[in-house]
C-alpha cells in the first residue's frame, strides 16, 4: 500500500513541477538586451530536453514503485541484467549533455566571439571587496593610465588614477552607478583589484567573471530604459551578499545630463 501511495505522490510532484515550468510560474525576468533572445532560446531548449527526461524518469520510477513497492522476498532480476540498462542510461545522458554543449556553443559564440561594435561606448569597471566602480573617459575620449599603487578608497581613488601627472586621467569620470544610453552598443572592460568577482545583470543576460590581473571585455546593447541591479555572483568574501550596484539605462539626452552631473561631482 505504502508503495502505491508513494508512486502517486511522485506522479503528483512531477505534474506540479511540469505545470510550473510550462506555464512560466517562476520564469526569467524580462530581457532588455539585443543578444538576450539567443540565450533565452538556449535556456528554453535546455529546459525542454531536461524536462522531458525528468518526466520520463519520474514515470519509470513511479511505475516500478507502484508495481514492486512493498514486495517481500528475493528481488526479481531486471531482464538481461543491470549492465545493459546502465550503459544505455550513460549513452542517453551523455548524448544529451554533448548535444546541449554543441548547440549552446553557438549561442555563446554569437555573444562572445562577435567583435564589439567600433562605435561602442567604452566604460571601465573596477570590482573590489565589496563594490563596483565605473569610469568614463570624459570629453577627450581617452582613459588615463591605471596606477594600482595609488588606489585609495579613503580618497575615493578607486581606480588608481593620477590626474596631477596624467593629462588623460584629468577628465575621467568615476561613478558608483553605471548609466548607459539605450540602443547604444556598450563595451565594458572588467578589472578586479583583489579577488574574483562577477558582473551579473539578469535582465541584460550578461554574467561575466572578473579575474584579478586580467582586463576582460564584455559588450552588449540594452533596448529598454530602466534601473536594474548588478550583483556579484562569485563568492568573494564576507561582504559578498552586499556587493552590488545599479545599472541605469537612459535615453540619450537623459544619459548626457546624467554624465554631466557625474562630471560635476568629480
Amino acid at each position: 500500500m505504502a508503495g502505491k501511495v508513494f508512486a502517486v505522490v511522485v506522479v503528483l510532484v512531477t505534474l506540479v513541477t511540469a505545470y510550473c515550468v510550462v506555464t512560466h510560474v517562476w520564469w526569467m525576468p524580462v530581457d532588455i538586451s539585443v543578444h538576450g533572445p539567443k540565450i533565452d532560446h538556449q535556456i528554453e531548449e535546455t529546459i525542454l530536453v531536461a524536462g522531458l527526461l525528468f518526466i520520463a524518469g519520474q514515470i519509470v520510477l513511479a511505475s516500478f514503485v507502484f508495481r514492486y513497492g512493498g514486495a517481500t522476498g528475493k528481488p526479481k532480476q531486471i531482464p538481461g541484467g543491470a549492465k545493459p540498462l546502465v550503459i544505455f542510461a550513460f549513452v542517453l545522458v551523455g548524448t544529451e549533455v554533448l548535444a546541449l554543449s554543441f548547440i549552446g556553443s553557438k549561442a555563446w559564440g554569437a555573444v562572445y566571439f562577435e567583435a564589439p561594435d567600433p562605435s561602442s561606448l567604452r566604460i571601465d569597471v573596477q570590482a573590489g571587496q565589496f563594490a563596483y566602480y565605473f569610469r568614463y573617459s570624459g570629453p577627450d575620449g581617452k582613459f588615463g593610465p591605471l596606477h594600482p599603487e595609488l588606489i585609495n578608497e579613503g580618497n575615493q581613488n578607486y581606480f588608481g588614477l593620477d590626474p596631477d601627472h596624467d593629462p588623460d586621467a584629468k577628465d575621467d569620470i568615476v561613478t558608483a552607478e553605471i548609466g548607459i544610453p539605450v540602443n547604444k552598443p556598450i563595451l565594458l572592460t572588467l578589472h578586479s583589484k583583489d579577488v574574483g568577482h562577477s558582473f551579473y545583470v539578469r535582465e541584460l543576460r550578461v554574467q561575466q567573471d572578473f579575474v584579478p590581473g586580467l582586463s576582460i571585455p564584455v559588450h552588449f546593447t540594452a533596448i529598454q530604459t530602466g534601473r536594474y541591479e548588478i550583483v556579484c555572483t562569485q563568492l568573494c568574501g564576507l561582504g559578498h551578499y552586499n556587493m552590488k550596484a545599479y545599472l541605469s539605462v537612459l535615453s540619450q539626452s537623459d544619459f548626457d545630463d546624467w554624465l554631466k552631473k557625474q562630471a560635476a561631482m568629480q
Binding site: G128, Q129, F130, A131, Y132, E153, G154, N155, Q156, Y158, T175, A176, E177, G237, L238, G239, N242, K244, A245, Y246, M265, Q266
Partner: protein, 246 residues
C-alpha cells in the same frame, strides 16, 4: 551566615569601594591641573572634496535627505579652521600617566564614521555604535607588530554596541568598512591628555599636569607639527598650529 560575619563582610566591601574610589579619583590632584587650548588653521585653499555617491546601498543614500555626503580628508571650517587634527603631548609626560576613565564613542551614522578622527588612551574604552539601518563591519588595520591587534567585526544596524580597547600608542590606525568602501576613519592612540579639533579648528587638552611639554598636532593629509608649551597650575595656555595647504 551569622550576623557578625555579615556586618564584617559589609564593612570590608565598603572599605574596598572607598579605597578604589580614592585611587581612581583624579579630583585629588584636580586643583593642580592646567589646560591647553588653541586653534588649528589651514593656510591656503582647501583641496576639493569629492562628494560620496552611496547609491550602492540605498539605505545609505537615503540619509542626509538624499544629498551626497562630502569627503572628509580635509575639513575646513570658518576662518580656515582645520578640523580632525589630533593634538597630544608627545614629550614631557613622566611617571604614571592616568588613563581617561570616560569611554570615547565611535559611531557609524549615515554610512560615515562620526567622528572621522578619534583620539583614545591605551586602555581607555571605546564604544562603537551603529545607528544605520544597514550592517557595517568595523575593520581597523593597525601596523603589524606595533602591539595593537587588527580585527574585523560586523555590527547590525541598531545592533548592540561593541567595546574595544587598544594596548599600544599608534598614530594612526586606519579604519574601514568593507561593505561601504568610502567609509574610513582614523583612531589615534596616545597616552595622556589629548584633543581633536572641531569644525572651527579649536581644540582643548584638559587635566594637563604643570610642566614643559612638546605638543604635537597630527592631520591625516598634512602630517605632524610640534611646539613647546609650558603649563602652569590652573592657568590655561594657548597653543595654535597652522598647516600649509599643499
Amino acid at each position: 551566615m551569622k550576623t557578625h560575619q555579615r556586618i564584617g563582610a559589609t564593612v570590608f566591601a565598603l572599605l574596598l569601594i572607598v579605597a578604589g574610589l580614592l585611587r581612581s579619583t583624579p579630583g585629588v590632584r584636580a586643583t593642580a591641573m592646567g589646560q591647553v587650548t588653541g586653534t588649528v588653521k589651514l593656510d591656503g585653499p582647501a583641496p576639493h572634496q569629492k562628494p560620496i555617491d552611496m547609491s550602492k546601498d540605498p539605505s545609505c543614500a537615503q540619509t542626509r535627505g538624499g544629498a551626497p555626503a562630502s569627503g572628509e580628508n580635509v575639513v575646513v571650517g570658518t576662518d580656515g579652521g582645520l578640523a580632525n587634527v589630533v593634538v597630544y603631548i608627545s614629550q614631557g609626560l613622566n611617571g604614571d600617566i592616568p588613563v581617561a576613565s570616560k569611554p570615547v564613542t565611535f559611531e557609524q551614522k549615515g554610512c560615515q564614521y562620526v567622528p572621522h578622527v578619534v583620539a583614545v588612551n591605551p586602555g581607555q574604552h571605546m564604544t562603537i555604535l551603529n545607528d544605520d539601518k544597514t550592517m557595517h563591519n568595523i575593520h581597523p588595520d593597525p601596523k603589524p607588530g606595533g602591539g595593537n591587534n587588527a580585527f574585523n567585526k560586523s555590527q547590525l544596524g541598531g545592533g548592540p554596541s561593541l567595546d574595544v580597547t587598544w594596548t599600544a600608542e599608534e598614530i594612526a590606525i586606519p579604519v574601514k568598512c568593507n561593505v561601504h568602501p568610502w567609509m574610513h576613519a582614523f583612531i589615534v592612540v596616545v597616552k595622556g591628555p589629548n584633543g581633536v579639533s572641531g569644525g572651527n579648528g579649536s581644540f582643548k587638552l584638559e587635566n594637563v599636569p604643570p610642566g614643559t611639554y612638546t605638543l604635537t598636532a597630527w592631520h591625516e593629509t598634512y602630517g605632524t607639527q610640534s611646539q613647546k608649551v609650558t603649563v602652569a597650575e590652573g592657568k590655561p595656555v594657548t597653543a595654535d598650529f597652522t598647516f600649509k595647504a599643499k
